[in-house]
């Protein structure tokens, strides 16, 4: 198994490790549940990776499905200019609409009910 973020080279230099690739394993605990990242492993190829994933993340019947993905297939996006831009983005958050929504709703009810209440 290998630590390190995506982009970490699995294997450098000689030895058996140079033939190995990192696979990320996602697991589902029960049918319909979310696929959750379980961890990763080193394997020479996808077929053995699937066998290892079964033993590392499924041998105690803790998973009903595994996704075994070569780390190289993952596009890593962590650029702060993309994900944490410096400008105010509060208007993009749903909370931007909900702030004061109760107050606005109460006012709207008052307006709607007002004339009818008078006329009754």
């Amino acid at each position: 198994m290998s630590a390190g973020g995506p982009g970490t080279q699995a294997a450098a230099g000689g030895g058996p490790q140079e033939h190995l690739e990192v696979f990320e394993v996602f697991r589902q605990e029960k049918e319909g549940g979310p696929m959750v990242h379980g961890g990763n492993l080193l394997a020479p190829d996808g077929e053995l990776a699937a066998h290892y994933a079964r033993e590392l993340y499924g041998r105690r019947q803790e998973s009903v499905r595994l996704w075994v993905v070569p780390r190289s297939a993952i596009r890593d996006v962590d650029d702060p200019d993309l994900l944490q831009p410096p400008m105010d983005r509060s208007f993009k958050k749903p909370v931007g609409y909900s702030a004061g929504i109760k107050q606005k709703l109460a006012q709207a009810r008052e307006r709607a009910a007002g004339p009818e209440a008078d006329g009754a």
């Binding site: 198994m1 190995l20 080193l42 394997a43 020479p44 053995l48 290892y52 079964r54 033993e55 041998r59």
Partner: protein
């Protein structure tokens, strides 16, 4: 003491069933112990965990088979598993070899798993319901064991000079003993008549060899069998080009197993009858 499920079996058939269960359980137990010796030293960490888990699975299968046997004989499963002398064990000669190198362990396991698969096929429809039920579960696990071993056979066979040489040498050495896994069991006729067994081991062996022939040819690995003429219109069965192994394949054990027996029974013998 007799289990109700076996009530329909006469004594001779029960004895034959007991012997068959013991052979199968011992095969799984001994293979499980040998393969567990790779824990900590397998070629890579992931394989280490996986191979150890497979070894545990085999010991689990052995336990379930000993429990079935205990239901027939009334003797506790632990006593059957660990309370015998070397000569009382009934695993096939294929399982008597020490672990060897990685290629040897893979070759042995592949030969055993493929032979075991056809044996389980002949028991999945057994009239002895507890056995049919257990075999159905075991087959689901063995499918993955087999796929895992197949993956390694292909990789070692095509993995360059040294892996290929070692794998070929292991196959060459193991073939005669591999046949002992499917040597006809004692009382086979009775087991077939009672429907406990739904196909003869001779037929199982032919199916097994027919299945393996194309793979061994494809991988260029030793396959010391030839087709013999069985008469016009008859399929030509595969027969070994070496002398057929004798009937002592499950009763005479070697020094490798004597050593392993000392290991695997050491805790049991240190305090017989202890409960855990």
């Amino acid at each position: 003491m007799s289990a109700p499920d076996a009530a329909g079996l006469d004594d001779a058939t029960r004895a034959a069933l007991a012997e068959l269960l013991l052979s199968m359980a011992d095969d799984e137990l001994v293979l499980g112990y040998w393969d567990s010796e790779w824990t900590g030293i397998a070629p890579l960490l992931e394989e280490d965990v996986a191979f150890s888990s497979l070894a545990q699975d085999e010991i689990g299968h052995a336990q379930a088979l000993y429990e079935l046997l205990a239901g027939l004989t009334g003797e506790p499963a632990d006593t059957i598993a660990y309370g015998r002398e070397v000569g009382g064990y009934r695993q096939a000669a294929l399982l008597d070899h020490a672990r060897g190198d990685w290629a040897f362990s893979i070759a042995r396991r592949f030969l055993y798993d493929t032979a075991d698969a056809v044996r389980l096929d002949a028991l999945a429809g057994s009239s002895y319901a507890p056995l049919a039920g257990l075999v159905t579960k075991m087959r689901r696990e063995e499918r993955y064991h087999l796929a895992h071993m197949h993956a390694w056979m292909v990789r070692l066979a095509r993995g360059g000079d040294e892996p290929r040489r070692r794998l070929a040498a292991a196959c060459e050495l193991l073939w005669p003993d591999a046949l002992t896994v499917l040597a006809p069991p004692t009382g086979e006729r009775r087991l077939l008549d009672a429907g406990v067994l739904t196909g003869s081991f001779a037929a199982c062996r032919q199916r097994w060899l027919e299945e393996l022939a194309p793979l061994f040819e494809d991988l260029g690995l030793p396959f010391p069998f030839r087709r013999v003429d069985a008469g016009p219109g008859q399929p030509s069965p595969l027969e070994p080009t070496f002398p057929e192994p004798g009937p002592e394949g499950r009763t005479e054990h070697n020094d490798d197993f004597r050593w392993l027996w000392g290991e695997l029974t050491s805790v049991y013998r240190s305090e017989p009858g202890a409960t855990w």
